[in-house]
Amino acid sequence: MRGVRFTFPDGSEALRGVDFTIHHGESVGLVGANGAGKSSILLHLAGVYLASEGEVRVGDWPVSRSTLVEVRRRVGLVFQDPDDQLFMPTVFQDVAFGPANQHLPPPEIEQRVGEALAHVGAEHLGQRPSHRLSGGERRAVALATVLALHPDILLLDEPSAGLDPMTRRRLIRWLGSFEHTRIVASHDLDLVLDSCERTLVLAAGRIIADGPTWSLLTDAALLERAGLELPLRLQGSPVTPHR
């Protein structure tokens, strides 16, 4: 991204000049207070929003109206609200939607759906209607719909919100093993600490810090400026257990 600015039609400025470059295979955390512009950045990378000013490139492609198909073939975006992602009658059909659009043969579609659901521990949900799942189940399935696309670049918006500890742990482990580029926007700083080497700190539509996750997320002054706190793990436990 080079000098990207983005203003919504109603005049609110979401991004006020964002610059960064992410190389292949990097895992990057995107942190910042509510409304800092995390979701907006991810939506730009997937070409859902087009920058009002500046340039967004994905691989060799500048993101513009004419390159959307190429860009989206590489990028998989998991939306912040899983309800936006799920729209088919059953979980299986929802996960199969992307592969079917890639015109894959049915046996391969089925295999991809199976794999993707297994990755998020949701094999048993296949025949359930998406609208009738719990919040965390929906999030897991939303992630599976994108995994089934085999994207080169994975964009996750708040992937751990509402997940139970086991599922969250599995997500973290899985994120660590994903070999392609991944960008994770999250308030779960412990998740970022565990799964991202590099972090961008965002405040009011600008990037205020960019560097190794460990050094940024241990910098209490920086985090405070961004409206954040130290990851829980680094806060020390204020409650001492009774003996």
């Binding site: 939506l43 997937a46 859902v48 959307l68 198909v69 989206r72 073939r73 990028v75 998989g76 975006l77 939306f79 609200d81 309800d83 936006d84 992602q85 729209f87 088919m88 009658p89 299986f92 059909q93 199969a96 939607f97 992307g98 079917a100 659009n101 890639q102 049915p106 579609i109 089925e110 025949q127 209607p129 609208h131 009738r132 719909t145 994108v146 696309l149």
Partner: protein, 266 residues
């Protein structure tokens, strides 16, 4: 559960019943679509004063229903939901056609009442057939079959998106009502003033949501066409089903079965 939530559940359960492994469910969607279309044409082709002639169609419906293994209760309920529409359409006929037509004992039935009943009868028959089709096949397979039978892709996709959009819209209404009832527990339903602003909000929200869903679809490579995953396969059973179904329909339409039976008994 609010009434809206219940209505959504019913729509879902109808679609879900398509996954029952029943003899009717296993037939190819195209065969069922063909017979249902034939059924609808037959029902529509009867005159508005022919009350008895369409009745044998109930036999075909019952046979289909038995083969579909869908609980009878759910059919009755859905027909009941839909019938007010037919009543509204036919309600004025008794006023427009006052001339006497039938004599039942000492009671004289006017032509208007006969045509009213006939509208209701044909509506319920058609509705039951469509419910049976969807209940035994699923909306997506029906759409796929329509596409394979030559209905333009654009129309089929529109149909599917419309069907999805009903859920999106209903879910928004559901959320707003729930949010309202949680913050105004002493008021069973919102005041008119609140309803007005809620309706405006609903429009904006469902537009915003439709936009986001559309974006999500584009992100997963949607190119203007929903593709069915399950392949369709026509077999001997499907051919027999189509022949038997259409044959029976032709018989009901061309021969006046109730009269023939009456003559036999005399």
């Amino acid at each position: 559960m609010t009434p809206i939530d219940r209505a959504i559940s019913h729509l879902h359960s109808l679609d879900a019943s398509a996954r029952l492994d029943s003899p009717l469910g296993r037939l190819d969607a195209r065969a069922k679509v063909l017979v249902t279309l034939g059924f609808l044409v037959t029902v529509a082709s009867f005159g508005r004063h022919q009350l008895l002639q369409p009745l044998p169609l109930v036999i075909l419906l019952s046979a289909g229903w038995a083969l579909s293994e869908i609980p009878v209760r759910s059919l009755g309920f859905r027909l009941a939901i839909a019938s007010p529409v037919a009543v509204l359409i036919g309600m004025w006929n008794p006023l427009f056609e006052p001339e006497p037509m039938l004599r039942l004992g000492s009671m004289v039935v006017s032509a208007g009442w006969v045509s009213f009943l006939s509208i209701l009868e044909r509506f319920l028959l058609g509705m039951a057939a469509v419910l049976l089709l969807i209940g035994s096949t699923g909306v997506d397979a029906v759409a796929a079959a329509l596409g394979r039978l030559g209905v333009p892709r654009v129309l089929v996709t529109q149909l599917l998106l419309l069907y999805r959009y009903v859920f999106v819209l209903a879910a928004e209404v559901e959320r707003m009502l729930r949010a309202h009832s949680l913050r105004a527990p002493n008021r069973p339903r919102p005041e008119l003033r609140t309803v007005r602003s809620m309706l405006g909000e609903l429009l904006l929200r469902s537009l915003a949501r439709a936009e986001r869903v559309h974006a999500a679809m584009l992100c997963r490579g949607f190119a203007g066409e929903l593709r069915a995953v399950t392949p369709l396969r026509l077999g001997l059973g499907d051919a027999l089903f189509v022949l038997a179904g259409l044959g029976f329909l032709a018989l009901v339409r061309l021969a006046d079965l109730p009269r023939a039976i009456g003559n036999l008994l005399r």
